[in-house]
Symmetry: C2
Subunit: 183 residues, 2 copies
């Protein structure tokens, strides 16, 4: 039996990613956990950003951003980009990150992240504290060891997940979609 | 250096949850990985559902659904509810699940899942293959061992995550949001 609990943002696990935005000159990075895949064809995702964030202004202005997946070793940068404001600090410089020019958007990706998804905003949804940008993935790059030919192949155990207010490890694969139908 | 790869639904990890819908008589369950938190106050989440799904019809009709978090032991049910159609099968019966009446929505939650989030649709976004339902979490229940008073406390290692087409384990906590600011 279950009991009633206080409502909150209880869905878990979610990703925690670094979103880079602006252009190759004026840019910012923000840590986002309120994100998710929202459509298969074309591939689309959403990110939700607080209106007070400097990144919000840049994404609204450009209509583009890059979602950079983060690996376990980047935990300090992942957290750090979420607690410092881009209004006062150049986060690329502060965290020793390199701007990677994107083929399909003006925003820089983060060279040190293993995967970068180039996103173009298609819809905007206004909510209480956040604005959701629903975007199409118009380009993607990945590090050689995270690929199999021109396909992404994420290695087991490299990603972090976000559960409530905690960063947690991910581990080994325990099943593949549809495995119960093949029995 | 990174190379170009084919675009796809590359964001990871994401949650894989069981969404229950309809009412206490006519109901369905569908496995959803295209979901995410989208707003903090009020707490809101989104799920994206293919238009061909029986659950899509029920969610559209009622404007409500429950998101049920799944624990590791429920892997077979999690996968099974994603590969069987509710048009031909009563998934509560087929998978031995119990309808839990919700205090705030007509849809049944799944008693066997450790956490259930009662959701009321506030926005709908039409996309290529999927429709996104953006919903407010208007109620929540959890099993005693996943709570601390009236708050949710998700134990380490109990949740599964979804990475590309694979179910993967989650593990121990490696940091708490803001830990780099406290150094």
């Amino acid at each position: 039996m279950k009991k009633q609990i206080k409502t909150s943002t209880h869905l878990a696990p979610v990703a925690a990613v670094l979103v880079s935005c602006g252009d190759m000159d004026v840019s910012d990075i923000v840590t986002i956990a309120w994100c998710g895949t929202v459509n298969s064809e074309p591939p689309m995702l959403s990110i939700s950003v607080r209106r007070s964030r400097y990144s919000y202004e840049l994404i609204k202005k450009y209509g583009e951003f890059a979602v950079n997946l983060v690996e376990r070793e980047q935990l300090e940068v992942l957290d750090g980009c979420g607690v410092v404001s881009g209004r006062s600090v150049d986060k690329f410089k502060k965290f020793g990150l390199t701007k990677q020019a994107c083929g399909n958007i003006k925003a820089p990706a983060i060279a040190e992240c293993p995967v970068s998804l180039e996103c173009a905003v298609r819809h905007t949804v206004e909510m209480g504290t956040h604005v959701m940008f629903v975007a199409e993935i118009v380009g993607a790059t990945a590090r050689e060891d995270w690929t199999d030919g021109d396909k992404l192949r994420i290695p087991d155990g490299k990603l972090l997940a976000y559960v409530q207010n905690r960063y947690v490890e991910t581990g080994k694969t325990v099943g593949t979609y549809g495995f119960t139908a093949q029995k």
